[in-house]
Every structure is written in structure tokens, then in C-alpha cells.
């Protein structure tokens, strides 16, 4: 089943580009169909029961091919891809560009699926590269010079990341004689004191941190997010960096290296990202750039949870659960925020907040959904973001990481501050004269906004059920 996730996009890609352009008109529906297929697969894949987080415990020897972490990611990829497509449909009208972008989206989809599914370090690298290449093209697809600039910076940093990762892969390969996760994991256990392996873990990890855009490896991220076309920034922020950076880091930590070896690094980097990202987001004029820094900050939370997981014990398990949960939540609300930004871009032609104001009355659904996402990202109950942050804080506290827990708590204030700035400058307030003619965004975007907002509220309010089915397996440790 899961090989379909890699094969189908490729097949689609080839079919769409058959000579004569017979099927060219089906580009968008094809991608949409694949995304839906992916969502369905993620939810209903029969190999394991969905609420199977107990498997996290067994992840170190990875008995099942598809754990719930991968499943969460597949689900996120499907959802975000669908959202991105709808935004693409609404924002890009030129048929040719639409077709091209849809093709590259397929490449990206395949790359991400590959990243999630493979169990080989080198294959992981290859698929990361597929995802990245697709991203470069997508970011630059508008042809604007900012897009090219952002893509080029991403490319340079990504190449550096590649070098770092490959160095790590090579050195692990040296010891394991293979690049398979289990073989490398075994080699790492048998050769625990080896300098080269330590360097390898360090460089590979740093490569992933660059891909994930964590401070101080984040330089490319705001530029790329800001400059990407609306639909692409949705995809980038929603899943691409999560999959290529954060998921790979999870995978590395869980399946290969053992989180405990570098959890202090993760904690420090996570905390730094949290604070720096939030501070940077405070003073931005571009909504997308602000959201990009917000991503940096929120990814910091996720990595903090991952670091907490490395502390081991029941608190570590809770931390891992919290990190995965926050990863999912962040995917949803950050996607929603970027869709909001796309809606604004559609109606005002810019993402510069200094020319907006009081659009709440003109774009009620955009405004409401954006408020919901903003509150969720700031960790205000009863929305989804609160619960993941809460679990994270509980985990950090129980792991004895009091300073990190306090920091995580108080960065929420900064988060709320910049999110309120967005609300204030864009939606909440008197409508500007020149924006009185603005309308609600087009149907597809509104649909996405409403759906994602409902997901946020639903996960938040139905947290008991999410907890029962998703987190309770860890209760024994509490």
C-alpha cells in the first residue's frame, strides 16, 4: 500500500506529461485525488490500529513499518497538500503555470512521502533532496525576483545541509556497512564511543536542523516563506519543513540514533528558536515573514519536546507525545494562517500588514479563522495548541527541566503578543477607507479556512477523546 504513495505521484507525473498533453487538464484534480488518497490511507491503513502511540516505546527497534508518527505526517501532508491546491486554484489563474506548479507539487508530494516512508539514511537524503528541489522550483515559480532570491538562499543553505548530512551518512555507513536504519542503529550501539560516529550524529543532526529552520540554522526560512507564492508558502510552512527537517529529526532520534544522545542540543536549540523566533516575529510588516518567524518559534517547541523525549522515562514519553501532537497542531494552524495570508493576498494584493486594517468586517471567515489559529498558536484553551503545549510543559516539568518549562510558558506571551499584533493590524479594528471594497476570499480558500478552523476547535474541544485514543497509552507513566 505505502509504496503507492511514492509510485502514484511519479506515475501521475509521467501521465500528465505524455506527449500531446492529453491529460494536462487533469493536473489539479490528480494532485487533489492523491492528497485525498493519502489522507484516507493515513487514517485507515489497516496494518496497525490508529491510536497506537504505545508503539513509540517500540520505535527503537521499529517492528512495524508504519508507526503513528509517520501516519500523523502522512495525514498532515495530505491535508496541507489539499489546502495548497485549493489556494493554488484560487490564486493562480494562468493555465500553464498552474499545470507546471501542479507537476512540481507532485514531485514534492512524492519526495515528502518518501521521506516519511523510507528506512534508509541515504534514501532519506535522496527524498529530502527531491522535496527540496521541488521546493526551490515552487518558491521561484512566480518568477518574481524575491521568489528567486528566497529560493536561491534556500538552495544554498539546503546544499550546506546536504553536505553536512551526507558527511554524517558516510561516516555511519563506514561503521554500519549499510545505510539502513536498523543496521546503523545497531552499529551506533556497538561503537558508542567512536569519535567519527559522534561527529556523524552531530553533522547529520545539524543538516536536519538547517532543513527544519531552527535558530541559528534558520536564515533561509523567513526569506523562502515570505517570497513564496501564497499556495507554496502554505505547503512550505505546513509540511515541507516539518517533514524534511523535523520529521527527519524525529526519525533520526527515534529510529537511528537514540534521542538521549543529543537531547541537550535539541533542548538548547529548541529554546533558542522559541525565543528568537518569537522576538523576531514581533516587528514584521510582512504577514508571511511574521508567520515564518512564528514557525521558527513553534518548531522550537516541537524540538523542545523532542529534547524532553530524550530525557527518557515517563516524562520523556509524554514529551514525545506532546511533540508529535504539537507537530500536528502546528501543521494545521500554521497552514490555516498561511491560507489566511493567501486570502488577504488575493484581496489586497499584498501581504504587507502596514496597508491593511479592519478587514474583519469585510472578510469575516478569514478573520475568525485567523483569530482561532492565532489563539491556538499562542496556546490559549480550549483550542488545540493549548493541549499540546500543556502536555509539553507537563513533560518538561516532570523531566526536571524547570527552566525550559518556564521558558516555554512565557514564550507563549510573546507568541500571543505578535499574534495579537496581526489581529490588530489586519482584522480587528476599523476598516481602512481604501479597503472598504474588499470582499471575502474566494470559495476554495474560505472552505479551507473553515475546515481547518473546525479542526483546531474540534481537536481542542474533543481533547478528551483525542487523549483517550491518542495519549492515554502513556498514562501509566503519569
Amino acid at each position: 500500500m505505502r509504496s503507492l504513495l511514492i509510485l502514484l505521484p511519479l506515475a501521475g507525473l509521467i501521465l500528465l506529461n505524455l506527449p500531446g498533453g492529453l491529460l494536462a487538464g487533469l493536473a489539479l484534480p490528480a494532485v487533489a485525488a492523491l492528497a485525498i488518497f493519502e489522507i484516507v490511507l493515513a487514517v485507515y491503513l489497516p496494518t496497525a490500529a490508529f491510536p497506537a502511540l504505545e508503539q513509540v516505546q517500540q520505535l527503537l527497534h521499529l517492528s512495524t513499518p508504519l508507526d503513528s508518527l509517520a501516519r500523523v505526517l502522512l495525514l498532515s501532508i495530505g491535508i496541507v497538500m489539499l489546502a495548497s491546491l485549493l489556494v493554488l486554484h484560487a490564486t493562480v489563474k494562468a493555465q500553464r503555470r498552474r499545470f507546471n506548479v501542479a507537476n512540481v507539487l507532485l514531485i514534492s508530494l512524492m519526495g515528502m512521502n518518501g521521506v516519511v516512508l523510507v528506512h534508509d539514511l541515504f534514501s532519506l537524503y535522496v527524498f529530502l533532496e527531491v522535496t527540496s528541489v521541488a521546493s526551490f522550483v515552487l518558491i521561484a515559480s512566480s518568477g518574481e525576483d524575491t521568489g528567486l532570491e528566497g529560493a536561491f538562499k534556500y538552495l544554498v543553505l539546503s546544499a550546506v545541509a546536504t553536505v553536512l548530512m551526507l558527511s554524517g551518512v558516510a561516516m555511519m555507513f563506514l561503521f554500519a556497512g549499510s545505510t539502513d536504519f536498523s543496521a546503523v542503529a545497531a552499529a551506533l550501539q556497538n561503537n558508542s564511543g567512536q569519535l567519527l560516529l559522534k561527529i556523524a550524529i552531530g553533522t547529520f543532526g545539524c543538516g536536519l536542523l538547517i532543513k527544519g529552520g531552527l535558530v541559528p540554522f534558520h536564515g533561509w526560512l523567513p526569506d523562502a516563506y515570505q517570497s513564496a507564492p501564497a499556495a507554496i508558502s502554505v505547503l512550505l510552512a505546513g509540511v515541507v519543513t516539518k517533514v524534511s527537517g523535523i520529521y527527519a529529526l524525529f526519525r533520526l532520534g527515534i529510529s537511528v540514533v537514540g534521542l538521549q544522545t543529543f537531547s541537550p542540543v535539541l533542548l538548547a536549540v529548541g529554546a533558542l528558536s522559541m525565543v528568537v523566533g518569537a522576538l523576531l516575529a514581533l516587528r514584521q510588516n510582512s504577514l508571511k515573514r511574521l508567520l515564518a518567524y512564528s514557525s521558527v518559534s513553534q518548531v522550537g517547541y516541537i524540538v523542545l519536546g523532542l529534547g524532553c523525549a530524550g530525557m527518557g522515562g515517563p516524562a520523556g514519553k509524554l514529551g514525545l507525545a506532546a511533540a508529535i501532537f504539537h507537530l500536528f497542531n502546528h501543521t494545521i494552524f500554521k497552514t490555516l494562517l498561511f491560507v489566511n495570508s493567501a486570502a488577504l493576498e488575493q484581496r489586497t494584493g499584498t501581504s504587507d500588514m502596514s496597508v491593511m486594517g479592519g478587514l474583519g468586517s469585510r472578510m469575516p471567515i478569514t478573520s475568525t479563522s485567523s483569530a482561532i489559529a492565532a489563539l491556538s498558536i499562542a496556546g490559549i484553551p480550549p483550542l488545540s495548541g493549548f493541549w499540546s503545549k500543556l502536555l509539553l510543559i507537563i513533560a518538561l516539568w516532570q523531566a526536571g527541566l524547570y527552566a525550559y518549562a518556564s521558558l516555554a510558558v512565557f514564550v507563549s506571551v510573546l507568541t500571543l503578543a505578535y499574534m495579537l499584533t496581526v489581529q490588530r493590524r489586519v482584522f480587528f479594528g476599523k476598516c481602512r477607507e481604501d479597503l472598504l471594497s474588499a470582499r471575502e476570499a474566494s470559495g476554495g480558500i474560505v472552505l479551507v479556512e473553515a475546515a481547518l478552523a473546525l479542526v483546531i476547535i474540534g481537536v481542542g474541544v474533543l481533547m478528551p477523546y483525542v487523549m483517550n485514543s491518542f495519549l492515554l497509552p502513556l498514562k501509566g507513566g503519569f
Partner: protein, 106 residues
């Protein structure tokens, strides 16, 4: 250091480290976008060498060659994209200087 391959690993490893240094230095220092891409290429060379070297030392030459070939293909694809971006930038801005692509900042 008991491994019979140690001298080979040491000398080529030194080569890898130095080449990596050259590449990173180039990427960070140059203001010319093409030269930056050349720097990245140098980096890739170093990594390819490291991969092959590790395969050689580990006695996994077949796999190492496979990986190296894949790596080369990836390298080509990335470079094609990079040069496309470069050309795009050149056409839009008329410049090949990295100082001219600093519009996104702050």
C-alpha cells in the same frame, strides 16, 4: 588505528576535510553567485570522496558506488535547478552579485 586501511583513510580523510574547508570558504566569502555554486560543487566533490572512502574502508564498495552514482545524479539535478535560479535572478535583476539579492531581510 589498528585497521589496515587507516593510512588510506587518514590521507584521503585529510583531503576531504581540506576540500570541505575550501568549499565552505568559497561559499561564505564570494560575492559572485556562480562562484558560490562552484563552491557548492567543490563541497559535493568532498562528500562524494568521503562516501567512496568510507565504502572502501568498510569493504562495501558496491554499495558505495551505488550511492555515489545516485549522489552524482542528485548533484546534477540540484545544479540544474541552481543554474536556472541563477539565470532567473540574472534576468530579473541584471546582476550576478549576491549583494543584489538581499532584499529579503530583517
Amino acid at each position: 588505528m589498528n585497521n589496515p586501511n587507516w593510512p588510506i583513510f587518514a590521507i584521503f580523510g585529510l583531503g576531504v576535510v581540506l576540500t570541505l574547508g575550501v568549499g565552505f570558504y568559497c561559499v561564505m566569502v564570494t560575492r559572485n553567485l556562480i562562484r558560490a555554486l562552484i563552491g557548492l560543487e567543490v563541497l559535493t566533490k568532498a562528500v562524494t570522496l568521503l562516501l567512496v572512502l568510507c565504502g572502501y574502508v568498510a569493504g562495501r564498495m558496491a554499495l558505495a558506488q551505488t550511492l555515489a552514482i545516485t549522489l552524482i545524479v542528485v548533484e546534477v539535478a540540484v545544479m540544474v535547478v541552481a543554474v536556472s535560479l541563477f539565470l532567473g535572478i540574472f534576468r530579473r535583476t541584471g546582476s550576478i552579485r549576491s549583494t543584489d539579492i538581499q532584499n529579503l531581510k530583517g
